[in-house]
């Protein structure tokens, strides 16, 4: 136990010193016993319902928009003269300013619980977009190239990146108990249909103004390594100006891929349970008919000034010819119909729960994304109160987006025969939108039937003669 706490403390400490950012759905992990879609987070967790089903347009959606560098209080701040306080806005920027948006629409969900297993079929459409904007991208136009806001005159834009992807996944999962019920394992196989993709890959550009603290402007050097802007699916079709209806439809369906979710739980003791899942391991191959790769080659130019001798001679300035030729030599190539594959953003959930009481559970969950070879972690402490299948409530505190006060909450309410789901991973932004940094909201209505714990509840009720739980589930 000490090792676990020690490990969690270490992780927590590291996260408070790391500007992290990710799109986790921690609160759904907290509602995993009653929320059928939470099975998407870990196929080894077996919901209590014997049968659950979600219909298109009703079974839910999850929207998440977040950033890590501002809020309305900052944006609306004023300086002493009543103007927009740009210094305050800028000073709150981070080295990397990230904006992400993710939307998941559950088109259909069907889950069947066996005695020791759970099998589910689901269709989800997902759209996600990420932007990473380096602080210098704002410093350069706002304060100028000679400003002290640029360290040593360097506007390093290499952290500028974006990735946008939309796809539909059709998944079939199966989880079951092993080791006499002490452990469950699960797997989900997903067929993916890519709809849209765009990214700015390996952008590496900088603008350096040479000088020192006394004077800056001796020369200006622009340096950019070769980079690609890739588009595919409907975005690729539009870039390629394939605008007719047949192309539009084709571009939405011509891209295929596969994904895999793996999960496991282990009951270490009666009260302590470990769980882990690795989601979205897979790829989408974007069909060659609707792709475009805009290749911007390497570019370097140093501007030191004009030759005054040429001015005296009345000649044309050679520096203008140099700039013209440098730009005209920039052979930007638009390469069409080149198939490529993109990996899904794999996510790792790992944690442990401790049963505080029969209805209350405390959990610690580590979340990590594997993005561009980097691990982007988050850590969540979760409190869960489960009033049978009727009511399930979760409250979480997550260290993510570089701050530790990212609270989430959610509940499922079973109103025969519908289950209502309301949840957010960013409670702070809802409670205090002025200082909120995003929007995260899950809403849905599921049809759930039966409860595998019913017999156990009844047995307990009979033996203790209490009414701690109210089971309104339908067998």
């Amino acid at each position: 136990m000490k090792k676990i706490i020690y490990t969690l403390l270490l992780i927590s400490f590291s996260l408070t010193n790391t500007k992290v950012f990710g799109q986790s759905d921690m609160i759904s992990y907290g509602l995993i016993k009653t929320l059928p879609q939470a099975n998407n987070l870990n196929p080894a967790i077996l919901p209590d319902y014997k049968f659950s089903m979600g219909f298109p347009g009703l079974s839910g959606f999850h929207t998440n928009t977040a950033q890590n560098f501002t809020n309305m209080a900052i944006l609306f701040s004023k300086d002493a003269e009543g103007n927009v306080d740009t210094d305050n806005i800028f000073n709150n920027l981070r080295r990397n300013n990230r904006i992400s948006t993710g939307n998941t629409v559950n088109i259909f969900h069907l889950g069947v619980r066996g005695t020791t297993s759970y099998t589910a079929f689901s269709i989800n459409t997902k759209f996600s977009s990420r932007f990473s904007l380096p602080r210098e991208l704002f410093a350069l136009p706002l304060y100028g190239n000679a400003s002290g806001q640029l360290e040593d005159g360097l506007a390093d834009l290499s952290r500028l990146s974006t990735k946008t992807m939309g796809y539909t996944e059709v998944g079939l999962s199966h989880g079951r108990e092993i080791l006499a019920g002490k452990m469950t394992i699960g797997v989900r196989i997903k067929y993916l249909a890519g709809h849209a993709y765009a990214d700015l890959n390996s952008f590496d550009a900088s603008l350096r103004t040479f000088g020192n603290d006394d004077f800056r402007g001796d020369s200006i050097q622009v340096n950019s390594n070769s980079f690609d802007i890739r588009t595919a699916g409907i975005v690729g079709a539009l870039v390629n100006e394939d605008n007719d209806q047949e192309d539009i439809i084709g571009s939405l369906l011509a891209n295929r891929g596969f994904g895999l979710d793996l999960g496991a739980t282990y009951d270490f003791t009666k009260k302590i349970k470990f769980f882990a899942s690795l989601n979205d391991v897979g790829f989408i191959k974007w069909g060659s008919n609707y792709t475009n790769r805009l290749n911007v080659p390497e570019f370097q130019y140093t501007f030191k000034g004009a030759d005054i001798v040429e001015l005296i001679n009345g000649e044309d300035l050679s520096v203008i010819d140099e700039i013209d030729s440098a730009i005209s030599d920039l052979d930007i190539q638009s390469i069409k119909n080149e198939s490529f594959s993109t990996a899904l953003t794999a996510k790792l959930y790992a944690g442990a729960s401790y049963e505080l009481s029969e209805r209350q559970t405390a959990s610690a969950i580590l979340y990590s994304e594997f993005f561009k070879g980097a691990i982007i972690p988050a850590f969540t402490a979760m409190y869960n109160f489960q009033g049978g299948t009727f009511f399930n409530f979760g409250l979480s505190a997550t260290v993510m987006n570089g701050r530790v006060n990212n609270f989430g909450t959610g509940m499922t309410l079973n109103l025969i025969p519908f289950q209502l789901v309301l949840a957010t991973n960013d409670l702070g932004s809802i409670i205090n939108p002025i200082k909120g940094r995003g929007v995260d909201f899950r809403f849905g209505i599921n049809h759930t039937f039966g409860n595998v714990n019913k017999s156990k509840s009844r047995a307990k009720k009979n033996s203790e003669n209490t009414i701690d739980t109210i089971d309104l589930g339908i067998d």
């Binding site: 609306f76 005159g153 004077f215 005296i312």
Partner: protein
Amino acid sequence: MKKISRKYRHFIALFLTMSMAGCYSELQDLELGEGFQWSPELGVPLVDSEFTLKDILETEAAGINFNTDERNTIVINITEDSLFSQSASDYFSLNDETIVVPPLILTQEQIDLFNANGSVIVIQEVFVDYPQPSGLSEIVIDRGNLVSQVEENFPADIDLSYSLEDPFNNPIPGYSNFFNYNVGEDPISTAQSASEFRNINFQFGEDSTLSKVKVSFEIEITRVDQDLVFGENSIDLTISFRDMDYGALYGDLPSQDISTEENTINTDFFNQDELLGDIEYYLNNPQFKLTLKNSMGLPVRFDVNNFTTYNDGRPSPEPINSAILLPQAEEGSVAESETDFDSQFKEIVNSLPDSVSLQIDGLIDPNNSPRNYVTRDSYIQVGYEVNIPLELRLSGLEINESFSIDGIDAQDTEYAYFKFTSTNSLPLDLVLTADLLDEDSMVVRNLFDGVELLKGGSTTSPEAISNIIKLEGNLEDLQRVRRVGIRATLATSTPTPPDDFVRISADAAVKFNLAVQAQYTVEF
């Protein structure tokens, strides 16, 4: 536990309700700032130049060449090929000449034939001497105008034509005319013609045929109403050679004087309005050379008279007089001669004269040689060549200049820094003072106050200097600026012994950079 749980939930619910109510009400109070103030600091390089003194001199001094000597020192070269230039035609020419052809009278046989037949054809050649120009043995006439006058008194119709040739069968344009006789009228008829001729030649030697013009007549005389009587009628022909240009003249050409007016050349280059200061300079090896050319077949002597320098209006005590003799040229070639005046020139140049004056006389064929010639293209030409290797000392050269500007709008500028950087391998120091002046020439701002822009260096150890002008504080006063006054002082750096001068080599350069850093504020 259950009670605590319920209490906790109530507390959370109450807390959330209050928080949300409070925070959402604050949303209504959100209000964007009234404006937006943008104050970027920009740093931009403006000038990046590297130039040698030769680059600048070649740009600024049209007509002056810049060479290098064996030590790669820049040499200023000023060449004037035709300070004085005259052609042979300015001194020698051909006079107009007239030849009178003996009257053409019909013989008795020709008259009898006419009277018997009513007409007669007469064909006749006449040779007439071309007058010998004084002293010449041969003339080649390149071109000229021929004027002919014919008079006849035959009481008959006459169809007259004649042609001319020089002794070498070169044709000269002839003439033809029909003289109509009307019964009862005066039978005298005259006619005149003019035409251009080219390339004829006469030699005046022992063979007299080589100086004669051949005239060939063809005349057809036709009766009108009467017979002819022997000796009463004639045809008179007078031929004039006018406006002739010679191709060549051979013989004993007469001597000719050459005379030019006295020339005074101002040399007070350093006393112009924009140049002030107590200038001292020394040129180590200036060179002056007269170049003379003669393509005439006569010798020519030039006399440089009274080459005098003036300092503060006082002439030099010993004017220079010199004579230069050019030999006659072989036909088809040019005789050339050069005369150096290096030592005199060095003395003159380094004495900072206000002006110099000289007068040049000359005499063509001073010894009156008997056999000489000139051609159409013969000429005499006097030029000069000045070479000034930049081995020099210079001090006290102060250049004062001002430029007009119409105010500087700097109301949105918080500050502006200008950075000058130079790396100099020229052995020259340049110190600059620059002021922004108002319309009363009062100093609004001082930009440079005796700042050393260039410090003398060498190609092996160039000197680097960097200066920053800072315009900051209240810049609204720049609106009053009407002129920029500049005072630049240029001097050579300290020579390296044993030389007492510096040497400016062609590869000595100045690398010069100018950049600006400024902050301005824009309010939206």
